[in-house]
């Protein structure tokens, strides 16, 4: 076993995600657009926006992961790349994890880094806590991308798979969303919540690649 196919898949995915739509600007535009719709939809009351802001960013991250992951494995299943991986005896779970990671790097991480600016738009106080929150968004979105990847791999051969991915992946997003919201609430239990968030993300990173590999072997049949 060599690391070459894994690196190649990683590089190719990163290139696709980065070059195929103005780099990280496209997901950022998506997130910005979604965030701008919120004050228009619920009104511009400062207190309300401050209260819902962190939650809106979590929702926007979850949606961004679902939108970017829709075709992550579909093209590989269609053009035969998947068959070549399987024939080469490459570790499919590692390749799937590498591809997911590449998409997270080009769509998840930039959004998390961008989040302090959005938080300011939602009337949050400018403080170092916003940077801590950006780290939490980065951690949580990694779990979103891995679970979303399982949905994407399962529906790789399904036409109109995007809706199916959402239905499959959203229940799996629950722990991340809850621990993430709890960590930023400042209420009781929020002190330990970042550790729980990290644990649920690690769990996703450990389990999801094997589920993706099993689903991709199915897609190749």
């Amino acid at each position: 076993m060599s690391a070459a196919p894994i690196l190649a898949a990683f590089r190719q995915s990163l290139g696709e995600a980065w070059a195929g739509g103005a780099g990280a600007l496209l997901p950022l535009g998506f997130l910005g657009g979604a965030a701008v719709l919120v004050p228009l939809g619920i009104g511009s009351d400062g207190e309300t926006l401050k209260a819902v802001g962190p939650g809106i960013i979590w929702v926007a991250l979850a949606l961004a992961s679902l939108v970017t992951l829709e075709r992550i494995f579909q093209s590989d299943a269609e053009d035969g790349t998947l068959d070549l991986w399987l024939q080469a005896g490459a570790p499919v779970s590692a390749i799937a994890a590498a591809k997911t990671l590449a998409h997270w790097l080009s769509a998840g991480l930039p959004l998390a880094l961008f989040s302090p600016l959005l938080a300011l738009m939602f009337q949050a106080e400018a403080s170092p806590a916003l940077l801590v929150n950006a780290g939490l968004y980065a951690l949580g979105s990694l779990a979103f991308f891995f679970w979303g990847g399982v949905g994407a791999a399962l529906s790789a051969t399904v036409r109109r798979g995007g809706l199916l991915i959402s239905l499959i992946a959203l229940p799996l997003y629950v722990p991340t969303a809850i621990f993430g919201a709890l960590a930023m609430s400042g209420g009781p239990g929020s002190a330990g919540a970042p550790l729980f968030l990290a644990a649920s993300t690690l769990f996703a990173c450990a389990v999801a690649p094997y589920a993706m590999a099993a689903a991709l072997r199915l897609a190749a049949d």
Partner: protein
């Protein structure tokens, strides 16, 4: 042990009398539970008066919601490891039936919640949320199976999803448990034994057994239908070949 039960002929012979027996016993148990629950047991003012009688549907439905997802996960695992077709037929049969009981649990819970807690639904309640996500897992499972173009693919994709969902359930339960809950604590299965008065507990347990038997009977009938459908499809294919 699995291979003994994996034989469709043995299953058909067994379920031929077992399914009707389950229906009859289940109907008797549910009828007893409803009669006791609706007319005999005294109402409990603390639990909202007469509305607490919905408990004799709600609690068995909650029990079956969890039991049917566990059954789905076990059947998926057995199919994934040993590839016994009957396990996949069972998984396919369990999903819609389990989803219905989960929906019944949610609906009766709301009906009970409105007069006693003053709300149909409480978003930050652990119990309600976990059951709701269980319902979504069932829906996702059925949607995924329906989207696959062959039976074999539907079985494999479904099994992967059911197993991923099953290892996630403790995590989901654990995460939502951090919420405060309006729902009362466990009162049937606790370390110190049941906390409920025997006058409620007996009809409740009988009702739960009745619902489980009905569930078993429905799953068996659904599996029998699926086996027959597959047999019809094979016979049709053979007929076409003969032309």
């Amino acid at each position: 042990m699995w291979s003994y039960f994996a034989n469709p002929h043995k299953f058909l012979r067994l379920s031929d009398w077992l399914a009707p027996a389950f229906y009859a016993l289940g109907a008797a148990c549910i009828a007893y539970g409803l009669w006791q629950g609706l007319w005999v047991v005294p109402k409990d003012e603390y639990q909202g008066g007469d509305i607490m009688r919905v408990m004799f549907i709600h609690v068995p439905a909650a029990w079956l919601a969890m039991a049917s997802y566990s059954a789905l996960a076990v059947a998926s695992f057995v199919w994934f490891v040993w590839r016994h077709e009957l396990a996949d037929i069972a998984a396919k049969a369990i999903a819609p039936i389990g989803a219905v009981w989960t929906a019944i649990c949610l609906a009766t819970g709301s009906i009970w919640g409105k007069p006693t807690w003053g709300t149909w639904w409480q978003w930050d309640d652990a119990r309600m949320m976990s059951v709701l996500f269980l319902f979504f897992l069932f829906l996702g499972y059925m949607a995924l199976r329906a989207a696959m173009d062959t039976r074999q693919k539907a079985a494999r994709a479904g099994a992967i999803l059911a197993m991923v969902g099953a290892i996630n359930i403790p995590l989901i339960k654990f995460s939502v448990d951090l919420f405060t809950s309006l729902h009362q604590d466990a009162s049937v299965i606790t370390a110190d034994g049941p906390k409920m008065a025997a006058v409620y507990l007996t009809p409740l347990l009988v009702s739960a057994v009745g619902h489980s038997l009905l569930f078993g009977g429905l799953v068996m009938t659904s599996m029998r239908t699926e086996i027959r459908e597959r047999r019809i499809a094979r016979l049709r294919a053979r007929e076409l070949e003969a032309f």
